[in-house]
C-alpha cells in the first residue's frame, strides 16, 4: 500500500518537475512547480514527517510560489520565442547531467543499508511537531536565533533593493 502511494507521488513529483524545465510559458512552469511541491509534501508525509510536509505546503506552495507568480505577472513575461539552440551548450550540459546521474546511482547502491525497508517507529503516538519543536528550541537554539536575524536582514535588503532609484 505504502509502496503504491510512494510510486504515485514520486512519479507526480518528477513529471511536474520535468514540466518546469520543458514548458515554455513561465506561468505554466510556476504552476507545475507548485504541483511538484505538493507531491513532495505527500512524500514527506509517507516518511512520517507531518510537520515538514505542512510547512512545505504553507511556505513553498503558498508563499514562495505566490511571490514567483506575482513577479512573473509584474514583469509581464510572454512565452519565450524559440531561439536557435546552442548545440555546444546542450551537448556539454547533457554530458555533465548523464555523468552526474551515473555517479549518483553508483553511490546510492553502494550505501550501507540502502535496501532496508522502513523500520517502524517505537512511539508513533508522540507528535512529531513536539519533537521537532523540542530539538529546535534546545539543541538548535542558537541557529534558530541566527535564522531570525537572517530573515530580518533579507527583509531590509529587499526593501532597499525595491526602491525606485538605487544610490
Amino acid at each position: 500500500m505504502q509502496l503504491i502511494l510512494f510510486w504515485i507521488f514520486a512519479i507526480l513529483m518528477l513529471a511536474f518537475g520535468l514540466g518546469v524545465v520543458v514548458l515554455r510559458n513561465p506561468v505554466s512552469s510556476a504552476l507545475s512547480l507548485v504541483m511538484s511541491f505538493v507531491a513532495l509534501a505527500a512524500l514527506f508525509v509517507t516518511l512520517d514527517a507531518f510537520f515538514i510536509g505542512v510547512i512545505q505546503i504553507l511556505v513553498y506552495a503558498g508563499a514562495v510560489m505566490v511571490l514567483f507568480l506575482f513577479i512573473i505577472m509584474l514583469l509581464d513575461l510572454r512565452s519565450e520565442q524559440t531561439r536557435r539552440l546552442n548545440l555546444a551548450a546542450w551537448t556539454g550540459g547533457g554530458l555533465v547531467i548523464a555523468g552526474f546521474v551515473g555517479l549518483l546511482i553508483k553511490v546510492i547502491f553502494t550505501l550501507p543499508g540502502f535496501n532496508f525497508e522502513k523500520p517502524p517507529i517505537s512511539h508513533p503516538e508522540i507528535s512529531d511537531v513536539a519533537m521537532v519543536g523540542l530539538a529546535l528550541f534546545s539543541k538548535f537554539n542558537l541557529p534558530f536565533q541566527i535564522i531570525g536575524v537572517l530573515l530580518l536582514v533579507a527583509t531590509v535588503g529587499v526593501v532597499l533593493l525595491s526602491k525606485k532609484e538605487l544610490k
Binding site: 511571490l67 514567483f68 546510492i108
Partner: protein
C-alpha cells in the same frame, strides 16, 4: 511492501538532476531560479529520508535532520525574496530576463 531508503534517494537524485538540467539548459533567469528551488527540495527529501530510516536508539526518527530541513526552507524563502528583488531591479535596468542578453561585462 514498504519503500526502501534507495527508493527515496533515487527519487531525490532524479529531482536534483531535473533541477540541474534546468539550470544548465534554460535561458530564462526566472526559470533558472525555480530550478534552484527544485534542487533545494531534492536535498530536503533526502534529508527527511535519512532522518526516518536512521532511527535513534529509542527507535524514534532522528529529528536533527528535520530541523535542518526547516532551516533550509527558511533560508530558501529569504533567498527567493532577495533574488526576485534583484531580478526586478535587473528587469528595470535592461528590460529582459534572458541571460544571454545580460552580457554587459563581455567585450
Amino acid at each position: 511492501m514498504m519503500p526502501t531508503l534507495a527508493h527515496y534517494l533515487v527519487a531525490s537524485g532524479l529531482l536534483f538532476t531535473i533541477g540541474l538540467a534546468g539550470v544548465m539548459l534554460r535561458r530564462n533567469i526566472i526559470i533558472i531560479f525555480m530550478c534552484l528551488e527544485l534542487m533545494l527540495n531534492a536535498s530536503n527529501l533526502s534529508l527527511v529520508a535519512f532522518s526516518r530510516f536512521a532511527l535513534t536508539l529509542e527507535g524514534m526518527p532522528n529529528y536533527s535532520g528535520q530541523v535542518l530541513v526547516f532551516f533550509i526552507i527558511t533560508v530558501a524563502a529569504a533567498e527567493v525574496a532577495v533574488g526576485l528583488a534583484i531580478i526586478v531591479a535587473l528587469f528595470r535596468a535592461r528590460q529582459t530576463t534572458h541571460v544571454e542578453d545580460l552580457n554587459s561585462m563581455k567585450f
